[in-house]
Symmetry: T
Subunit: 149 residues, 12 copies
């Protein structure tokens, strides 16, 4: 059975509580529910992971690589813009991967324009809210997903 | 009836002929066919437009704004990185809009990392090939699409 | 009889429709009417030209140079900040010329602070709305206008 | 009765003596005379002020704000490019204001391209010589002048 | 008897009148009153000085150094970001000194992020309003104040 | 009862052992004792937290937000200059907050001049040693503290 | 029969009229005549194309690629320094190509030092006037010309 | 007995699995075995530590400082380029230390050229594979090792 | 009779008191005495001027220009690095002029490396202490001094 | 009789041995032979010079200037990008000169994009292999060669 | 028999005389003696070369390449940071090579942080004094040395 | 007997022949004669040295250091702006030294504004022509010359 790992980075556990004018009022649980509903009836295991710790996220990516999962969806939050270690982890994992951002990072502060992690993913979806995760999910299950790097 | 305008910018008429190791061997006609197949059975008019001229693309966006279409999907090609006029046109149109790139621009030359146009769109999908257009289409038809700007 | 060419660049055909909080609610036709009213009774031909195409604007400048008109008023819109070709066209035309911007570009995005074209004009009026065109017109008819470059 | 304050910054007392190939041979007294002639017959008090001291200019702007004058015309000279304190003074004054430069700063040294003060004015007129002051005057008396900031 | 000199730089005489959404509605007199109340009963002379002139502030710092005062509190206003001469004056004075800003300069324009003067002070308090002056005062009277530089 | 959380970031557990010429010879326990002495007799709970892990600090800030504490004092150590995730955590917490640095960061390496976190705090106190924490504490208990962001 | 396409970009139709101190007094017709004279007696078709429009030049390059011509000589004028779209067109064409500039761009404004298009050509000849086109022509007919990219 | 601590940072637990074309096919266990073989017969305790967490590495360095070990060998992985906190930890530890990189960072991406941590070490060995650790070990046991900082 | 004006800028009145490890223990009076001794017996009037105010220095330069003095020696202190207005004043004066710095500015902070004023002088002498003024004096009296600009 | 000096800079003596995938397998002797064959029958003396020493190349250029040769062809190799002294030598020589590069420097590392020397030559030919020398030779013998600078 | 060439660049002949606080008091002869002692008993020829001339070092590298030596150890001194020609020479030589610096360049001036030459070597050892040469020697004799580039 | 070494760098042997509008028409021999005349009657040996080779100049500085001469006057020509090796040589020599430039480098190209070598000299004299050498000579013989560095 196929397995997709969904990784959410720092402060995403605060979704719905934090700056709702940017990130909306729905929570991470709502996201999980929407994705499970979307996957419903298909033979796919969804594994959700959230951490505020760069090290734990790197550990989880390595684990996913060892498990040989079918794909990863990652929203690295602010680590997107600062973490070369996360880029290395993703590049070393060799798995199909899509980076997702809830908000459109091109409309935000200049320090959010740079993405270290995106270059280690198949592609990036930014600004489409929860729908970005669903589109990433569908992409990974389509025939066109590549092994990243 | 809803109408979605799909705008492809410079050199995208060469799709399938030009640098297939980056852009694949399928053509713009293949893209149109895939999108029409995807939309099939729904009450949506799809309007495809391609031009190598910045001015003609600005004209087409203004026209779409006057028509009050439901949404735009735009792949501005190289204009993404250089055209403030296109940014102004999109920002002035006030329409839901998704920017799409076939390749993952974060894996390419540094001069392709900057996007002027993205800040005038709801969001950006980059690196997912033709699937990016389909995801953009589904997003625009979902309830969550916003008026850009 | 003297002839003044007034050139408006990309997206200025959308004046009154586009971002009225920045550009106001009056249209390009209103501008033309105000200028013609202002010129009224004087032996001056006013020639208005608007295009979203950089190439067509360059063509029009060359034509004005061949016609030996008395002066040009140009609002290059977003081309101000990106077009070296327009700078070359203006510098090559050898005509008195004033660059006009409706909004005060010093209050806007950092990418609007640079002007390629201004260095090929006699001077620049920015932020005074339609009045900027009228002041440019009066300047060109005063004795002090120079041949640009 | 309306009152317009005209402030000229450092070295403008040397007009006519200093670098005439850039600034012309007319003096500040000539400018005052031309403006008074232009205003002639209208109920407007013109108050001319020149100083080489940043502090005195800030003092004069504060005084104008307290007097509630109708508008200011300021040529901050070289302070344009270096003085944040002058920007603060203008922004804090809350008066309609036009920045004027005799020469076209876009044709000069790169360190003259940046203007701190312009962002605290309604707009800028650059490169039109004494005519720039007259146009600024007319603008301030027109109905369209805004309170700066 | 100990003496503390409180120096306020350009535009701070306009406190309460200028941009109250940033600086609040209290005036410099209110600040003086609050500090005198706070010092009340202690053997300390408070000497308030405000000027919009960089030169006069430098003169006052030199005078304080000659007087051998116990400490200085300085809010250099916009000179913070532009004046190397003020940095030299403070560094040359050899007095305990605290730089104070009413607003949080890290939340403001990028040109307010740089401080020349801070490196010649013991430390900086920014964003705490009038309370910043009181905290600076208490610091200077505590045993831990150093001679700056 | 009011509660103030004091968060100290990486390497501050080494205070008194590490580079005493910069940070002094007192330890974090000394700081806690001084603050508790200062608070003595007031109905305030002080909660001290130190971690070398960015993730744990983000967790603690989220917890403080859920607890609805009265304010936070944070010395983010080196994370000040590198962590956008911490900025997001502070901005999302919506609590009154003061950033404190023992040393004057303006006198140190250029890479310590930038603060990501400061823009999510009410203000910053830098260079006043332990006194900075006491001043921050007093500020938070004064009436003037704001909810950050 | 071999075919060489010679493409001249914006403002080169003004050759001989525009800034003769930089570009000389000969016209584009003179260039065409000299190249035809030079080619005379050889079985080569020369196709001259000039446009001020970026889009039309991209169209012409695509057409040349479809025709499978033997080589291109391109003077992109000011587009050299600004057009990534032209770079993409040349790179996608897969034809031997030489970039030519009449003047020595290394002696001119700093904004003319950068060439986007050169990296998609076999090489560049700059500063040798009309002779540059003749040398490019001879190079393309020599055995050593490569397919660009 | 002397003790040397060998610290490996993020993603080095993946050695031999991750990007073998850059890092080779040997694992961290192989490295440990080679170093123990090299040390064999000498009175030296080798202590190996790997973590993907910046905080845990800082903790381990502090511990080593308290233990008063003879020296440290550290490969900070991607933290080399981003972690000021790690620099502070090393500088504060006051121990002889050599930074080691398996690959030659000068041949890699530009964001790997900068090292924060190197300035807090005695020196750096880059590009010599596992041999770099052996050379660092020999250096630390030679008489010439200094206390870092 | 020839007249030489010696202008000393901000903080130079503190010479001998301020940072003697950089500037030495001699005062401005000592300098004046040394220069008068050096000039002794020659028909030259020496006029010394010191101010901490940029505006007063500009006034003094204008006055020197009107007086038609033989030359100026100027040590603009920190204004060297920040004042375009002083550059304009010197350039506009049209007098032979030498810029002098007591310390070698190339050995100091990076913000002291840039000189706005030097480009408006015949030349610069830096790092030779009081001797620099004497050499400047001799230069101005030699036949080779030029009118600046 | 006319004389042309051909100067080849550092590492060009290794042509044919060094990085043949960039520079081809032909040697400097092959180049000399091709140029002599090309010149055959014409009254021109060809003088070849190669050195890895910047000083010797400067000496040779000075000698050529004293000899009053008809022109120079120079491939400064890596000195192109770093040597202001070579720029000075060429500018001071006052001879017609063409800079040649075997490879297209626009396709290579960013540090090869800058040319100091080009601004002291008539023009530059880059990327056309040995043919570039032949074209430079023909240019120098044509009537259009200028004295450089 | 194997041969190792040790190349020392500019000013290294002054070792022991020049800035001993940075480079120690041992001389280049001491280094040679230590390396010969270390090699003693092994069938290896050591060839020492020092020059202050970039050209002579390039010559020596070319010679080593022709000789087909087993490896090079190079301390390019200040040429490390400025010489692209040396980079080209090393890259063209195709020999195993280690770059050595006596001091830790990461602790020195910012202009010493960049190394052109390192990218053409197997690796770099910096800050370990003479031991760096010995480690480089052992590396070159180990089985793991690669041909550079 | 005292000895002063005067070192002139690249292209200064061309003085009087090269760009006389910048450097004047006098030659290096004229300079030598003027300096010898100036020194006449004093017990000083003057040693003139000119080279276009960076290596030879470094050699000469080392020799001067070994000789223990009284001082050096150096005009490093274009090496001023590019040679860290020359900086190292001067810093290592430990001799009183003055850097001299004939022209005012602040009035020339931006790449001539930076001086590596100046920071290793007592001071710099720029723009005073031959007089600069004479002033440097007098300075070195005065009591105030320091050992550089």
């Amino acid at each position: 059975m196929k397995e997709i790992v969904i990784i959410n980075g720092p402060n995403l556990n605060r979704l719905g509580k934090r700056e709702p004018e940017i990130y909306g009022s729905e929570t991470l649980d709502d996201l999980e529910k929407q994705l499970r509903d979307h996957a419903n009836g298909r033979e796919i295991e969804l594994d959700f992971f959230q951490s505020n710790s760069e090290g734990e996220i790197i550990d989880r990516i390595a684990e996913a690589s060892d498990q040989g999962v079918s794909g990863m969806i990652i929203n690295p939050g602010a680590f997107t813009h600062t973490s070369i270690a996360l880029y290395d982890a993703l590049a070393g994992a060799g798995l199909p991967c899509v980076e997702v951002h809830l908000s459109n990072i091109y409309r935000r502060e200049s320090f959010r324009q740079k993405s270290f992690t995106a270059a280690a993913c198949d592609g990036v979806i930014s600004g489409l809210g929860f729908y970005g995760y669903i589109a990433a999910f569908d992409y990974l299950l389509s025939g066109s997903a590549r092994r990243s790097r």
